[in-house]
Amino acid sequence: MKRNPSNFRYAWTASLPVLFGYVTLGFAYGLYMHNLGFSFWYPLLMAMTIYGGSVEFFIANLLLQQFNPLNVLLITAVLGFRQFFYGVAMLSKYPQHGWRKWLLIFGLSDETFVLNYYTKIPAGYDSTVVRTWISVLDYFYWAFGALCGGCLGGVLNLQVKGLDFVMTALFLVLAVEQFLKEKNHWSSLSGLIITIGCLLVFGKSYFMIATLLLLVLEYYWFSYRKGGSA
């Protein structure tokens, strides 16, 4: 396989905000598991196999309780539900065959979805290769952060308080960019209004699922039904 270094460099630059975000967040996660009494192997293993922040925090807690496989299935499915829609959005951008497909699907975390969907990859770069590198880099940032948090958590106090805001800032900037570029603001505004409504009605645990279901309903009702297949 011929590896084009500029594809990697482009992915590296694009993934820098996630580097800071994931290393701090992963560190916090490793530290959290350290405080629950787990050796650093646990956060590392979970970061590398589950690779999903909110699921890992939750499973860390479940590991201290009675063995309940059905509960694990349910909670993971509920927390991971939104990723289903990331997949729907990425259908046209990810390849349908080859080994990269599996790496890309495995690596479809929130932040990787955001980078891989919203980053405009200029002509001259191989977009599939760039997206694969972004996925792989993000994965290692997260695993590295979890390892550091699990190992050094108790020993050092390296945290820069507030560095994790970079993730919020990234989402804000991308939302603003999206808003400035789009032809109509229907989808953006729906997301904003429905999410706030659902947060108030359903609370912090369920509002994302409720929002996604309502958005699908909204699309079905107002766009798909009226416009036919348009």
């Binding site: 820098l16 646990y42 890992e56 804000l172 953006s188 904003l192």
Partner: protein, 112 residues
């Protein structure tokens, strides 16, 4: 929980999490024929959802806002305004991210 049970728990979570990411690719693409497109409804949904998901994730970041004691949430609100303001002014992603985050770090460490 024994070590085996812990490993089973982790493996179950890993497989389930992977399935939530993989399912759309399995359901809506047809491996036998590349050219076959996913159903129009799914295609339309794939185009409609992303902007809404973006604003949803912004709200997600702010889900812990305290409306009763708003001054506790002032750092993330102010830093968010700085991020958006700088971005509208210069439209340089790296600059907006750096100044917004720097503003937040300074606020939580030295002001609040």
């Amino acid at each position: 929980m024994s070590v085996i049970q812990q490993l089973v728990t982790i493996a179950l979570a890993a497989v389930t999490n992977f399935i939530t990411r993989w399912l759309p690719f399995q359901l809506f693409t047809h491996s036998k024929d590349d050219r076959q497109e996913p159903a129009p409804f799914i295609k339309g949904l794939g185009a409609f959802l992303p902007p809404a998901i973006m604003t949803m994730l912004v709200v997600y970041c702010y889900r812990n806002l305290n409306f009763v004691h708003l001054n506790q949430s002032l750092p993330e609100l102010l830093a968010g305004l700085v991020t958006v303001g700088v971005h509208l002014w210069q439209r340089k992603m790296f600059l907006s991210l750096t100044l917004g985050t720097l503003c937040y770090i300074l606020l939580v460490n030295f002001v609040f």
